[in-house]
Symmetry: C2
Subunit: 494 residues, 2 copies
């Protein structure tokens, strides 16, 4: 079948197999960057305008029908049965946000570095000292472990070319590399925090502890679902999606690493360490581990302990023998990200009670005190910005991010100072607070009838109760989850 | 250039780049199986008959000139400068021997196996027991180590498909695999002894200790030299030869393993262990480690200690996580093969003095006693059968392997009961003993003049002193090396 796709005013022509799912095709062809619900016909983010051709729909639920009547169809629910001309609305493209990332606190020092270097000026072998090359090094640094084969293969030449002046790179009992000459003081590491929505990467000088570069990206796995459950569901539906999800995240991290290294003119071979944190689903997907049981009762992760790999195992742009450490998770819904919050804030060592809430796509809540730490997680982000909000969008250009009542006026702050295209999480919270203060919203998230409420007349006329109802209930559910979390704990466990 | 090669009566046509070395081309084209001296113009095993065309010679030393006058040239010293027709004499082909291998003593038992299995029937997870899959296994078998990524990736499915009835495969603190169901009692290993000339392989049942199959092969590295020094020299000359040498031995071992497994209908995935012994050069070449310093004073190996790899690192037909153990060497010229002789004979635990001599291409000599072990090595094999003997050949069809005087008659035993083509090591030793007994040879290996010696008249006429001279001096040098070795030690060290 001939499918012509119009995007940003340009026409692209494709040959598509009859019966193909339209969204699958558009995603693969790079004509669409993603949806929020992984093609379950819920979020409406994959709608396209049909210029010519007949497109049969799989289901005929309200949402897709709605779009159909306007000339729009949901690509995820549509199949190619004949020649077709469709337009992908440019406003529907996923916004790749510029994530504002703060510098890490500079508490990282060489003493903590997992990988160490030592310069050695070795005695040259002689007929009186026939020590083998490898043992000559091991004895000097007092370790007994193995070495990578490729190191041994070239060790004799490295030693002799450098006149036996070398720098050994080692981690624990393992030799990583032998570099000619003195390279002490040169060594870099990366830390990546893989969020469901956002990936944050930091390039760190292992000797000074300085953060040399920071990069924030949207998690490209969003094309298979906005939240962890959607992504796990996509694997349950089609097991191939697991390797797609892993490839997407690895490609994005690789690109981030390359960019940061290039900025500073640093070679990948002097990156010896990569630390990964994230929620349990994200770390499973990063490693390509089957995540399906995370979404099924009794919610069992494959592994919780720290997993250590070599850079070469994931083909990352770093030293092939460098350590990739995926930090330990707590449970299926409490990952190494919240563990890092605990360690970074040091809340486990503070007197009295401390409460930490990490609001991302999920909100993790930790309570520390009396020598115990209690933690739980609840859905948050998707409720604010994702699939269930009609005009919801991520915090990119055009998103309402703040709502205030000044006098009797409603003031909006829109990212990028453009006319608003939708509303993001923080905007939605503001809107709810504003509506609550105005007495328009009850505790259960129901909008009061404008008729019966004391409101400025200009507002009374503008509020459409029905459309807003579902939109407000979702974040309320999210907040309710959180509050339940941190309200329950002190009562039950102190 | 057009080169036509006649071999076994068949004509093969090739396009060859002008200036190519003729031997290199013939080896690559599979028209020649090998030489003894790695193309140094010494052994004469690469001689070919020129039917038409001019072939310039690199050197014009005696040996090559000799062949040139007869229409034969040394391919290793010759270069393609124009169209050419050459014949490779079929009698010059390397003989792939049927090596007679004895069964290993059946002292190998499951207690010694490096890899262990344990069947586990695990409690299924529940809301009361949310232990992660991986930790559920580790705690049961009491280890804390890492697991290969590919195991973790499929662990959730393996556990659930098998109803949590699994067999774990582990080595030390490391999990190798998790197999569905009960596979206890199924596990195999290989032992390979890589000799300079011969490779011997054994397939072993790790549970019963039975030797299930034995295979002997000629070491295919012979195309780059008959002895360790020639092979190291070939790497010194062209560093690429190192990877060629490694590929050759890996391919041969792979083929041996495949053959033995097929014979018994065993899957490679249940081979968990491969043990390699050999002299120091052979183990360096097996691992692809630069061996050049083994041949240069002060003769330094890259490593002496045991090297452990995974099967997947060398792409061998076994479990990808299985252990490949290259046993430790003693020094540049005393490898893990002689170490195995010590361990197998138990000579280090016996009372009094024990002497072991392992005559291969090199002869290793070990003296044990008074709580000490002394060892040395000396050239042996090549002296007997290799490069320096005009009619020397390896112990294959047509080789004289025994020489006896019965009355005044000389009786020859020829392998394969064919007319003799040459003489192999054991034949040469016999011949020397016979000559010594007949009073024809002095202690220094010089042939006495037939005229001046009491000999049966029929022998007097047949002995040509000049041709035999070099042939006899070589093994004498070899034996002299050995004798020096084991004569010196007791005197100096007891």
């Amino acid at each position: 079948m001939n499918v012509e796709v119009i995007k940003n005013g340009k026409h692209h022509r494709f040959q598509v197999k009859q019966g193909s799912n339209l969204m699958d095709f558009l995603l693969k062809a790079g004509m669409m960057t993603g949806t929020e619900c992984a093609g379950r016909g819920i979020c409406g983010k994959c709608r396209v305008l049909v210029h010519s051709g007949e497109v049969p729909h799989a289901a005929s639920d309200g949402a897709s029908q709605l779009h159909h009547n306007t000339g729009y169809i949901l690509a995820c629910q549509s199949f190619v049965r004949g020649d077709l001309i469709v337009e992908v609305p440019s406003s529907e493209e996923a916004v790749d946000r510029k994530v504002g990332l703060h510098q890490l606190p500079q508490t990282y020092t060489v003493a903590d570095a997992p990988v160490k270097k030592r310069f050695l000026s070795l005695a040259k072998p002689s007929l009186q000292d026939q020590h083998p090359d490898f043992e000559r090094i091991l004895e000097k640094i007092g370790i007994t472990g193995n070495a990578p084969l490729r190191l041994l293969q070239h060790l004799p030449k490295t030693l002799r070319d450098s006149g036996f002046n070398i720098t050994v790179v080692f981690a624990g009992n393992r030799l990583l590399d032998v570099e000619p000459g003195d390279t002490w003081g040169t060594g870099y590491g990366f830390v990546f925090d893989i969020g469901t929505t956002t990936i944050a990467g930091y390039l760190i000088d292992l000797y000074s502890g300085d953060v040399l570069g920071v990069d924030g990206k949207a998690n490209p796995q969003r094309i298979l679902g906005a939240d962890v459950l959607s992504r796990v569901a996509s694997v349950t539906e089609r097991f191939d999606n697991l390797s797609t999800l892993q490839s997407l995240i690895l490609a994005e991290i690789t690109q981030s690493m390359r960019g940061l290294l290039e900025e500073r003119g640093i070679a990948g071979s002097s990156v010896y360490s990569l630390v990964i944190v994230g929620n349990t689903t994200m770390t499973h997907l990063f490693l390509g581990i089957d995540p399906r049981n995370l979404a099924l009762s009794p919610f069992i992760p494959c592994c919780r302990k720290r997993i250590t790999l070599k850079g070469s195992e994931l083909a990352l742009p770093m030293h092939p023998e460098g350590d990739v450490s995926v930090l330990p998770n707590i449970s299926a819904y409490l990952g190494s990200d919240i563990l890092s919050v605990i360690l970074t804030t040091g809340m486990h060592t503070q007197e009295g009670y401390s409460l930490a809430v990490d609001i991302g796509t999920n909100a993790e809540i930790v309570l520390s005190g009396k020598g115990r730490i209690l933690a739980c997680a609840a859905a948050a982000g998707p409720a604010f910005a994702g699939a269930h909000i009609h005009n919801g969008m991520r915090a990119g250009d055009g998103a309402i991010e703040a709502v205030r009542m000044i006098g009797s006026d409603i003031c909006l702050k829109v990212i990028g100072n453009t006319p608003p295209k939708g509303i993001c999480g923080s905007g939605l919270i503001d809107a709810i607070v504003t509506l609550l203060k105005a007495g328009l919203l009850d505790q259960r998230g129901r909008l009061a009838d404008g008729e019966k409420t004391v409101l400025p007349p200009f507002l009374k006329n503008r509020i459409r109760v029905r459309d807003c109802y579902a939109g407000i209930r979702s974040p309320v559910r999210g907040r309710a989850g959180e509050r339940t979390g941190y309200r329950c704990y002190p009562k039950r466990h102190t």
